[in-house]
């Protein structure tokens, strides 16, 4: 069962009761110490007190060294040198890891060298390393979609039991539990991120009386408010063109049409999931038994057409916006009213100096659709339960993986896993998901709302933020990311064709057919039968 706020609080209350009764004296001391530690680290620097710095990351890393010290002697890894490959997006990810691991290096004596990659360069660098047998890193920051490429080829080291205990692996939210992080029944990944697109919107826009009046005056029957379906998102986007909010041009939804190394495809996926992911069908990208692409079915074509229709109502240069632009240069800077994004927007809006909208953001699961395409019947269904929602569990989160090449060296193996365990530690992870880091909530223990409030988050804000994620993770009709080899090649091919569609060179159906044809070719190139098997496994079929 997925722990929710109620069960977590119930558990905490029981533990407290046991502690006060003296029945579990040592346990209560430990629990109290851990609670104190969590309270202490979440005050570094404290929400609203400026963006965290390297000094903060080091301080947090130092305070969270307890589990490492419990299992590793001081200086035990002296002479061990490890190489770590990961991202440097927004000056986060690897840069944070450096700070967190500095105290670990000082304590254990190990040294880490860093390979930093931009998001768009990640996939090719990793693919080349795998294909050419030149894995030149011992620890790897990697998303679950690549597990087919890495774990499937035996390049990762299996997680030792002591690491499972140290990181409290059972604390992960359900949707990130096996098969995610595992391959052929073996566990490989220390999860450090959730990842799921939620819906971010401007509360001031959707509570503005002047806009509400204009909306009514335009003859709309419904009340002015936050869109709940993609049909409403389209209507609002078209309505806002030419309107003003706080003396600035108002815009509705912000699409991200510019390619982004395959990662931009998720944003079309977020528009498409409500149309394409039927509650009676686990698949939505490919047919399960044949890997026949669905990208050119009426649902996906409708999503693509939505983008085409919305672009004239978005900022003039939107064709050149990638997700980075929509999230960080537009939405956080006050341009646009609605975007889908991973959890970063919520943290950065409130806890970074780069945001001007920290007090006026609201969150929800992705919009739904009044009808959903049924691939089995070829019909559009209206559900009795109302609009179809299908949160896009895009990317399944980043994790830390240790490479098999350390397996032959016991000391190095232990050092690499210790570093991974430190980064994926339960307390450290709370800080990571609370502040701008590139990571979002992924443990049941992250949903203790009071911890966030104590750190400085507004109760209403954080409730909206965390609920949008929890509801996405637990949604029965969530759209799950396929963990199949070459997934980013599929996405990249699609991105290229989509730019042609969005620029008006081909229509939505023709472009979608082109993508489907190229995907078919790619599936044959990679190996259809194997892809079918892995696709089924990733959907739990």
């Amino acid at each position: 069962m997925q722990p929710n706020r109620r069960t977590v609080l119930k558990g905490a209350a029981s533990a407290a009761a046991l502690g006060t009764s003296g029945a579990l004296g040592t346990f209560s001391e430990l629990a109290l110490a851990q609670a104190n530690l969590r309270a202490q680290i979440t005050q570094i620097p404290g929400v609203g007190k400026g963006a965290p710095t390297d000094a903060d990351w080091q301080k947090v890393g130092e305070l969270c060294l307890g589990p490492t010290k419990a299992s590793i002697k001081e200086g035990e890894f002296k002479g061990v040198e490890l190489s770590f490959m990961g991202l440097n997006n927004q000056n986060l990810h690897n840069l944070l890891f450096r700070g967190f691991l500095k105290p670990w290096e000082a304590y254990t004596g190990a040294k880490i060298s860093w390979i930093d990659l931009a998001q768009a360069d990640y996939n090719p660098r990793l693919q080349q390393a795998i294909a050419t047998g030149t894995v030149d890193f011992d620890i790897l920051e990697m998303g679950a979609p690549f597990e087919g490429d890495v774990c499937g080829k035996g390049l990762a080291s299996e997680m030792p039991d002591w690491v499972k205990k140290q990181i409290d692996i059972d604390d992960y939210v359900d949707y990130l539990k096996p098969p995610v992080g595992t391959w052929n029944g073996k566990t490989y990944r220390v999860t450090i991120d959730g990842d799921c697109h939620n819906f971010n919107y401007r509360t001031d826009v959707f509570s503005d009386p002047a806009l509400a009046k204009a909306w009514k005056d335009a003859g709309n029957a419904s009340e002015w408010g936050v869109p709940k379906t993609w049909q409403q998102v389209q209507a609002v986007t078209k309505f806002l063109k030419g309107k003003k909010i706080k003396n600035q041009n108002a815009f509705g939804y912000l699409d991200a049409p510019k390619p982004w190394g395959g990662f931009g495809f998720y944003f079309l996926g977020s528009r498409a999931s409500a149309y394409a992911k039927h509650p009676d069908d686990k698949a939505w990208l490919f047919d399960i038994d044949t890997m026949k692409p669905r990208i050119n079915n009426p649902a996906w074509v409708r999503a693509i057409q939505d983008v085409i229709d919305a672009l004239p109502f978005e900022p003039a240069d939107q064709l050149n916006a990638d997700p980075n632009t929509t999230g960080f240069q537009q939405f956080l800077a006050g341009i646009g009213s609605m975007i889908p994004w991973w959890g970063d927007i919520g943290q950065v809006a409130k806890a970074s100096d780069t945001s001007v909208i920290g007090d006026i953001v609201g969150f929800d699961i992705l919009p739904g659709s009044d009808d959903v395409y049924n691939s089995k019947t070829g019909q559009w269904d209206k559900l009795a339960s109302g609009p179809n929602h299908a949160p896009n569990c895009a990317y399944l989160g980043w994790g830390v993986y240790v490479m098999a090449r350390v397996n032959g060296d016991e000391k190095k193996h232990k050092a690499a896993w210790s570093a991974a365990a430190h980064l994926g530690g339960k307390d450290l992870s709370l800080w990571m998901v609370m502040y701008p880091s590139g990571f979002q909530a992924h443990r049941a223990s992250h949903f203790q709302y009071d911890e966030w409030v104590a750190a400085g988050y507004d109760k209403k804000y954080i409730t909206s933020y965390l609920n949008s994620q929890l509801a996405s993770y637990n949604h029965p009709n969530r759209a799950v990311e396929p963990r199949i080899p070459g997934i980013f090649q599929y996405y990249s091919i699609a991105e290229d064709e989509l730019t042609k569609i969005f620029a008006g060179k081909v229509d939505a159906q023709t472009g979608a057919n082109n993508i489907a044809a190229a995907w078919e070719k790619l599936t044959d190139q990679i190996g259809r039968e194997r892809q079918i098997g892995l696709y089924k496994a990733s959907l739990g079929v």
Binding site: A131, D149, A316, D317, G486, D496, Q525
Partner: protein, 372 residues
């Protein structure tokens, strides 16, 4: 008058070539033959191994390189044995020849081999021989032809760059005030890397919302100054950025040519009553033609490699409007991990460039001969 006395010139003295004895010749030929057969055998085994015909072979292509080096040494020794001192002299050339083979010919052959493979980095089976499939795929690839079409635009635009650069070179060769200062200023863009330029201009100066160029354009009445939103505007903007970095290079070469030009010729034209335009068109331009052709060919070679600005600013968009062959090949490798196809595209492009430049050189030779 001095008597001419024969002077001994040791430096330029050419001793009579000694012919090698017949037995040494035979040994030399045998050595070269054996080494060549050995080298071909290693290559043959490796090809059979790679195509899966035999299990014996090497895990990578490094032994081929080693076999080549062994063959090179044997070939050198064989030359000395066969040709005697003439062979020894040839040895001075051999390092350059072997180096060229190692870094040009060998990679080209290897590239042709890779181009014949169906090799996706995610494929569990690894590379598979596919013959001409990649070339067939290229013929049907609309992205490739689109990029090639864009290259025609970018290449023709070099003429515009040349015209501007010539104008600037004439200006800076004239007796104007602060000439040295302007020479330095005009050269500055050349010192910037294209990546820096793509950020400075593409993502700052021409940025739609805050960029100074966009602000100025709005002030002048252009409502939505999106420099990269429409295909033609985006193509022109990319071309302008690339020209900004490259015009100084063309200018400095032309300026050097102008500086080297004999002043008397122009003065003679002046005496004959030629005006400024006539003097330029009938005197300066023809004299500068060899320099111009050289710099244009160099510039076209650079232009055909245009990729970094495109990748950074537009990623080839909107809708492929700014895509270049190099940026497309980069995406095929980088985003699609399609090594075989990417290499096939690169090899064909290389061939196209060689053919194009050969034609240009021939045409330019004829043209300069006519002018002369």
């Amino acid at each position: 008058m001095q008597n001419s006395v024969p002077v001994s010139d040791d430096l330029h003295h050419q001793p009579a070539t000694k012919r090698a004895p017949r037995s040494r010749k035979a040994a030399g030929r045998a050595l070269v033959l054996l080494a060549s057969l050995g080298f071909l055998l290693v290559v043959f085994i490796q090809v059979l191994h790679t195509t899966g015909t035999i299990s014996a072979g090497f895990s990578d292509w490094r032994p081929i390189l080693i076999a080549y080096l062994v063959w090179a040494v044997a070939f050198g020794v064989g030359q000395v044995l066969t040709r005697g001192e003439r062979g020894q002299r040839a040895l001075f050339l051999l390092p350059a020849v072997f180096f060229t083979v190692a870094v040009v010919i060998f990679p080209t052959i290897f590239g042709i081999y890779i181009a014949s493979l169906d090799w996706n980095l995610s494929s569990i089976e690894g590379p598979r021989f596919s013959g001409f499939d990649n070339l067939k795929g290229m013929l049907n690839d609309t992205y490739y032809w689109n990029a090639l079409g864009n290259m025609v635009f970018y290449t023709v635009a070099v003429l515009g760059e040349y015209a501007i650069a010539f104008g600037l070179a004439l200006l800076l060769s004239a007796e104007i005030r602060a000439r040295k200062f302007f020479r330095v200023v005009f050269l500055l863009p050349m010192m910037l890397s294209p990546v820096a330029v793509s950020w400075m201009i593409g993502k700052s100066l021409l940025e739609y919302r805050f960029g100074p160029a966009a602000t100025l354009a709005r002030y002048l009445g252009w409502d939505n100054p999106a420099f990269f939103a429409s295909p033609w505007m985006a193509r022109l903007s990319i071309q302008a950025m690339d020209a900004w970095v490259s015009i100084p290079f063309i200018m400095i070469i032309l300026l050097a040519g102008l500086q080297a030009m004999p002043k008397e010729v122009q003065e003679a034209a002046k005496v004959d009553g030629a005006n400024g335009w006539q003097s330029f068109w009938h005197v300066t331009f023809p004299i500068m033609l060899p320099v111009s052709i050289t710099v244009l060919i160099i510039r076209i070679i650079f232009k055909l490699k245009l990729a970094d600005i495109v990748i950074n600013v537009t990623a080839g968009g909107p809708g492929g409007a700014t895509d270049t062959v190099s940026s497309f090949i980069y995406r095929v490798y980088r985003d699609r991990s399609n090594v075989g196809y990417g290499t096939a595209l690169a090899m064909v492009y290389l061939l196209l460039i060689i053919v194009l430049l050969t034609l240009m050189l021939r045409l330019s030779k004829r043209w300069t001969q006519k002018v002369e």
